[in-house]
Amino acid sequence: MTATALPPRPVTEHAAQLAAWLQEHATELAPWRHRATQGIAAAVEHDRGLLASLHDAGWSRYGWPAETGGLGGPVALRAVLYDELAAADLEVPEAFVILETLGPLLAHLAPHLAAVHLPRFLRGDELWGQGFSEPEAGSDLAHLRTRAVSDGTGFRVTGQKVWTTLGQFASFAAVLARTGAADSAHRGLTMLWVDLAAPGVTVRPIAAASGRDEFAEMFFDDVPVPAEGVIGEVGGGWAAAMYLLQYERGMYAWQRQAVLHRRLRQLAALVGDDAPSGTDVAALGRAQLLCAGLRARSATTVARLSDGENPGPEISVDKVLLGRCEQAVTDAWRRLRGTDMLLGADDSAITGREEWFYSRASTIFGGAADIQRDILADRVLDLPRGAR
């Protein structure tokens, strides 16, 4: 199924060509129209096949710099990939969420690491984890405690991270650690690239409420990190985290809107016109309206990212819109497929329930919705700051 990599084209043309390719290979790609429901490990394994195909055909390499194994072109070409996958009725691999969180960080601040790891990730050979949150530092991330102490050449890391998405499958993690004094808050942080196979690392999956154990906790006991493992500058961890957030919030929202629009199409087709009640139908319409607003907003954000502009605090608008959409779509599903929610045992019901739980977390991860609102109140609406 290998296709020759083509030079980057304008966004709409690129989208049309990708759509044509996806259609042409629809039969080979059919296994990825559903996600594997026999547990998260099976799903991760299953997705590798799709990642490999997209990499080999070149499609997932567009929008990434050539120096890091990409085929170049504007960042918007990555957005096209996620959108067209969902439009072709395929499941967008969860790995792309992590890719859009950590990929831009590596490509921008640690091209030497990106050159090695990005191609592996795109091929489906390697996953990464985002090690920011700690048991005592969630919303108040700047007060994290994991320490990194210089050992002359590199650092040694000690501490605990939690809620690392797909952490149990990751080979490496971007770990935000304290290199400054204990009270240095956001000023004393450094972003480190930690080899999870290094001595002193323990990773344990966390049993999740949804039944889909999608995250893990990571323990670091004097774990060595070489000097090349510094992403950005020593003491520049907060800036690195802020850089990453524009993608974690912006490109991620675009990715999810693609998935949510597909969910709306699937739901409408599944229910059909078998006369459900007015309020349930209105819930579907509400979800359509919200998703339409998100898509419109997110398209401008992607265009800005693609132009190399950092949307700054305004990106929180996308994040708040996304949280509403996620919940509106799964609420519409819950209303229109109430029996599935309560009793269903087939793949579609299991996926629906998992997504319902996931949608509730959408207003927590990547910065809780209330934190996003504070950012917007302070920095966009310019309201007086108050006690937190």
Partner: protein, 303 residues
Amino acid sequence: MSEHVDELAALAEELLAAGRDQELLAQLADPDVEDLRADPQVAGAVMRVHGRYCVSSGLFDLLVVGAGRSVVLPVPGQESGRPSGAAGSRLVGLVRGGPQDELVLPTEDGPRFLPRDHVVSEAVSGLDPLLGLTLVRSDYDPVVGTATTATGDVLGYAARLLADELVGVAEGALALALEHVRERHQFGVPIGSFQAVRHRLVDAYVDAEGARSLLAAIGPDAAPDVQALVLKASAGAAALRCVAAAQQVCGGMGFTAEFDLHRYVRRALALDALLSGSEAAEEHLGALALRGRVLPDRQVVLT
């Protein structure tokens, strides 16, 4: 065209801020600017400013169907065109401002026309007296004709311009509320520093942003049901959310006649109700989806 958009928006801003709405109307009615005012982007920008100032003027009719004509909108909750036998008895619909020489009735099979002397009109003050709504009745059958609008579709275009206006209403109400919470102190601090107040306003702002983005992303040539059920409904919902948030955070002040907020509240409710209210639109959209037409789906494209 885009420099004209900014130019006209600035002119509208200047004149409407000074309460010179009739002057704006006269300038835009000039036949020399016909092409300009028929540009959906220009018209949209002007209607947005119009919404922000919540004024009453004949701008809507002028921008939708051109000089000398009025758009007849269905009366919410009532079926139009029921004959009852008496003279001037058949309810035709609602006109914004006084009826012009010719009334344009958008129907599913294209526009129909009635000359003004074939209708009986009755001004209604109702919820939003400044909106200047007029009920029109007639015994005559409207005639077929052609309407010149930017898109050739009166209903869709009317819905689109109402959406622009509603975004303006949302912005105007929000601006008023933001100013109020920065100035008003309680417990020794500005009330805008309380998280509950801040978050309420942010949520309203996010709604307005969603509606604004949609209007910018989906053009006037999209289907009429997209204009009405998606653009106008989302702008209507945003405006309702903004005025509700503003009413809460402005406290007692918001309930005085002197403070402008009530004008926005009235305007948001009234405009939302015209051409299918946002809540009804949700149900309509959902029902269409279940019949296989999921709107607007991927109509917004990446560029």
